[in-house]
């Protein structure tokens, strides 16, 4: 099998070991084909790298590259730290303590996920402007002359990091809460009886146990940060994404843009590998088939108030403030802007997002399960790499998708003409097909990470028992793993749903004629500098996203009963 060449030869392995590692089963074959298909856009982009350094590349390297690299790294570090700081303590508090408002925070802390980053950026710029909602506050604490300067100071790299963090921390919150809730009370109690204080319990036991989940959530955040375009562009911060757009579209030099994309991919690969290698051979499943839930500790009054504040801050920053600003913009205009066309937009958005979510989760399960079945390293590597699309800016994925699909379209059209004499048009790129495929490339990681983390928590013994008792891999998947993972799969699906709902550049470029979604409408109004008008579709995105986000919160928060 040609595919086996992907493995890296190592010395000193027995023949049997080699055979085991290189065996190709139907599962691994199908998974490899799917992974390769999803890699097609990335590969078709990377082929542009073969050309060698162009003059544009030399120009970029000499002028903007150092700043781009520095800004991107700084953004990654700041956002990473901030999302962890907002996500983990809140998750720990709502899952292990009892304090006023806990039951509300449990679901409400996920709400910021429904706000697209670029809309958060626009609303925050308005909030911090001298005529925004926060203006009285600035007037109170600052000298008069400095009030107009607040916004200029805010629209900077730390400002972008702040805006991105307050709407993306729920990724970290969700996974850490799920991990904390699933931790066996037994483990924590053992640690407690061994004399651990509750601080050291958190840092030495609970946090390390929750690591795979937290890292999965953090990876999503960081990849999202690295391909963020709307917010960084509006705030005037140059990052890899703006650099790629500059090289590709402003300077018309595709190879230089690809070179930048390759750098970006390299950085992300290094991040992923670092974490993997540091994790080593540690296992994180709890071994016991039915972990006892961690009992919630009621907090004393002062501590309870503190916990309340810790949870209220992210919620206010990530949801209440932006939503209030959107309402303040949207309500006076609702009569003018809201019409039956919006119903159509909402239906388009909803249909597209839910359909894509089903497809993406299905693919993720296929890939992860096939990896689990086979012990081959090449498949594991391939699956890992196929999730990289999430880190590539949407517009780049879009163009990468067009290259192979247009080729296919042309050949299908020729074939059909030769066969029937009729014309079919572009059946892949002219329809939603290419768009949904590109979403799969882009959002596979969103489903892949939680599904992988979910499978890691399913004790391998269960699968092995079922297989030993004669069940086929498919039956084991459907009868054992799928029921165990139902919640995980639904959560993964909802994450993809929300992401597709918010997605912009890819949708803009690949959608068929006359196909608008709420996101494209909001963007059109915003890019036309009619921010107030764009608040209406933005609010609708929020509404459509709210219900699934709440379900998601319920799912990942349900306790072991």
């Amino acid at each position: 099998m040609a595919l086996t060449r992907f493995s890296i030869p190592r010395f000193g392995r027995s023949r049997a070991e080699w055979q085991r590692r290189l065996r190709v089963t139907p599962w691994s074959f199908v998974a490899a084909v799917v992974a390769l298909l999803l890699l097609l856009p990335i590969v078709s982009i990377l082929t542009g790298l073969l050309g060698g350094g162009s003059e544009t590349w030399v120009h970029l390297r000499g002028t903007v590259l150092p700043e781009i690299v520095w800004n991107s790294l700084l953004l990654v570090v700041l956002t990473g730290a901030l999302t962890l700081a907002l996500g983990i303590p809140t998750a720990w508090l709502v899952s292990t303590s009892e304090f006023p408002g806990r039951r509300i925070f449990e679901w409400a802390l996920v709400l910021p996920l429904a706000i697209p980053t670029y809309i958060a950026a626009f609303t925050y710029a308005e909030l911090f402007s001298h005529h925004g909602l926060l203006e009285p506050l600035f007037r109170l604490i600052l000298p008069e002359a400095q009030v107009p300067q607040v916004r200029a100071a805010f629209m900077s790299l730390p400002g972008v990091a702040f805006v991105i963090s307050v709407v993306l921390y729920p990724y970290v919150f969700l996974v850490s809460r799920a991990s904390f809730l699933k931790q066996s009370g037994g483990v924590l109690e053992t640690a407690r009886t061994l004399g651990r204080s509750s601080w050291s319990l958190f840092f030495r036991v609970a946090l390390p146990l929750a690591r795979p989940g937290i890292v999965a959530g953090l990876t999503l955040v960081l990849m999202e940060v690295l391909n963020e375009y709307g917010a960084v562009k509006y705030f005037g911060v140059s990052t890899f994404t703006t650099g790629i757009f500059r090289a590709w579209f402003s300077l018309g030099d595709t190879p230089a843009a690809l070179r930048l994309s390759a750098w970006l991919l390299g950085i992300i690969l290094v991040l992923i590998l670092l974490e993997r290698s540091q994790r080593g051979r540690a296992r994180f499943d709890d071994g016991s088939a039915r972990p006892r839930p961690v009992p919630r500790v009621p907090l004393r009054r002062g501590m309870g108030f503190l916990a309340f504040a810790v949870c209220a801050i992210p919620l206010i920053l990530g949801f209440v403030l932006p939503a209030t600003q959107l309402l303040a913009w949207g309500l006076p205009l609702a009569g003018n802007v809201l019409n039956p066309r919006f119903l159509r937009l909402a239906a388009n958005s909803f249909g597209l997002a839910s359909g894509t979510a089903v497809v993406v989760v299905g693919l993720a399960v296929l890939l992860v399960y096939a990896t689990r079945l086979s012990s081959s390293t090449w498949l594991r590597g391939l699956v890992r790499v196929s999730g990289l699309g999430y880190a590539i800016p949407g517009a780049v994925v879009a163009v990468g998708t067009l290259i192979p699909f247009l080729w296919l379209d042309r050949h299908i059209a020729l074939g059909v003409r030769g066969w029937t004499g009729g014309s079919l048009g572009l059946i892949l790129t002219g329809t939603l097909f290419a768009l949904v495929f590109a979403y799969c490339v882009r959002f596979l990681a969103v489903a892949l990470n939680p599904v992988e983390a979910g499978f890691q928590r399913v004790c391998g013994n269960l699968d092995e028992s079922a297989r030993a008792l004669g069940a086929s891999p498919l039956r084991t998947l459907l009868r054992i793993d799928a029921p165990l993972l139902r919640g995980t799969l639904l959560s993964a699906g909802i994450l993809v749903f929300v992401d597709v709902l918010k997605e912009l550049p890819l949708t803009l470029l690949l959608r068929p004629f006359n196909f608008d979604t709420l996101a494209t409408r909001a963007f059109q109004l915003a890019s036309d500098e009619q921010l107030a008008h764009s608040a209406i579709p933005a609010l609708l995105i929020l509404l459509v996203g709210l219900l699934p986000v709440l379900v998601l919160s319920r799912l990942s928060g349900s306790r072991s009963k």
Binding site: A178, L406, E529
Partner: protein, 382 residues
């Protein structure tokens, strides 16, 4: 997740301990139980149906029709959609639209080649039209109607593109801090007296790029780069936001001067929101370089794509868009300058008066685009 996590596990453990399994994974039990057989095969049988059901609506929209015109546009204005609707009403030709940034649409056109469904490309910048032309993506418009309606300097000499509207890049100043005669030219913006008094948006923006291209055309690359560096040295803050933000920041006193396209200020003046009107009324505009080459003017324009499947319909749509009705709508509703000379301007534009526009051939903006972007990079204007 938790509840679901546990239930079947418990069952399995019980079965291993020897109690009677109610449902489980024991293969004998599964095989002997017809219920499971049915359910499993149901799964298998359903899969193709689900897939087919998902794909049918995907492919249903590819039908070919003759009374349509397909438009790739970078103009995201409601005015345009209203005009397209009106065109359909008049001619029965359906207008189908994909709107995205011109750069990405050009990239898509290039990839699509002869298979492209697009008939028209509409951009908000002459440089982009030239880029499409340069890459062989357009075909000439041959229409007496168009030639009669649009002055020759607002069309490509060979007819590859036609301007739809004009927009002037003017200097916006704060009325109580600046006298308009202090800033007669773009070049005067680099004076030391404006230190920390100018606000600007990112050089990544196409309006800035085309403007710098016009400076390169007027002088040379070095002078333009020195100009960009000098202007950047006068920034009151790092470049950020959009044109409207620059105007608002001037009104708020973050800076005293900004560059902006005319219709953004006009829109604020015409706004229903009193706060926006106050912003617009506290600033004034200067049409720079009136004694020299004239104010930098860019156009939004349209071209027929090289492989347009419906070239006749495309030409009819262009003729409609440069017609009196559409030109009036562009001016009245979107406050851009019409390309027709026989269409009345709205009150706000009349109030600003006539001005001398830089007569530079608009294709030059496209030819010098790359050089302008690089000059910005070297000058450190981000």
């Amino acid at each position: 997740m938790g509840g679901l996590y546990n239930a079947p596990v418990a069952v399995e453990i019980r079965s291993q301990q020897g109690s009677v399994p109610s449902r489980g994974v024991l293969p004998g039990l599964v095989r002997s139980n017809p219920l499971f057989q049915v359910r499993l095969s149901m799964h298998r049988r359903l899969v193709p149906f689900v897939l087919a059901a998902a794909l049918v609506p995907l492919s249903a929209c590819g039908k070919a029709e003759d009374s349509v015109v397909n438009v790739y546009t970078h103009r995201h204005y409601d005015t345009d959609q209203a005009l397209f609707d009106r065109f359909t009403e008049l001619t029965g030709i359906e207008v189908r639209v994909v709107s995205a940034s011109a750069d990405e649409l050009i990239s898509r056109l290039e990839r699509e080649g002869a298979a492209s469904p697009a008939d028209l490309l509409i951009t908000v910048d002459a440089g982009r039209l030239h880029r499409a032309l340069d890459r062989g993506l357009l075909q000439p418009v041959r229409s007496e109607v168009v030639n009669a309606a649009v002055p020759a300097d607002l069309r490509d000499p060979d007819g590859y593109w036609v301007a739809l509207t004009r927009r002037a890049r003017v200097i916006v100043y704060r009325k109580d801090r600046v006298q308009p005669d202090e800033i007669p030219t773009y070049e005067s913006l680099t004076d030391e007296q404006w230190l920390e008094r100018i606000v600007a948006r990112s050089s990544e923006n196409i309006y800035n790029v085309s403007h710098l291209a016009s400076l390169i055309a007027a002088h040379d690359t070095t002078v333009a780069e020195v100009w960009a560096r000098g202007l950047a040295a006068n920034f009151a803050r790092a470049p950020q936001g959009n044109d409207t933000d620059q105007i608002r920041d001037v009104a708020a006193g973050v800076g005293d001067l900004a560059l902006a396209n005319t219709y953004y200020l006009a829109r604020l003046l015409a706004s229903e929101d009193p706060a926006s009107r106050r912003v617009a009324e506290s600033v004034g505009i200067v049409f720079p370089n009136q004694l020299g080459r004239g104010t930098h003017v860019n156009v939004s324009g349209v071209g027929i794509t090289r492989y347009a499947p419906h070239p006749q319909n495309a030409q009819r749509l262009i003729e409609f868009l440069v017609g009196e009705e559409a030109q009036l709508a562009f001016a009245r509703d979107n406050l851009e300058y019409p390309v027709r000379t026989d269409v009345p301007w709205p009150e706000i534009l009349v109030g600003w008066g006539e001005f001398r526009a830089d007569p530079l051939a608009l294709n030059r903006l496209g030819e010098l685009n790359n050089e302008a972007v690089r000059a910005f990079d070297r000058a450190g204007w981000r």
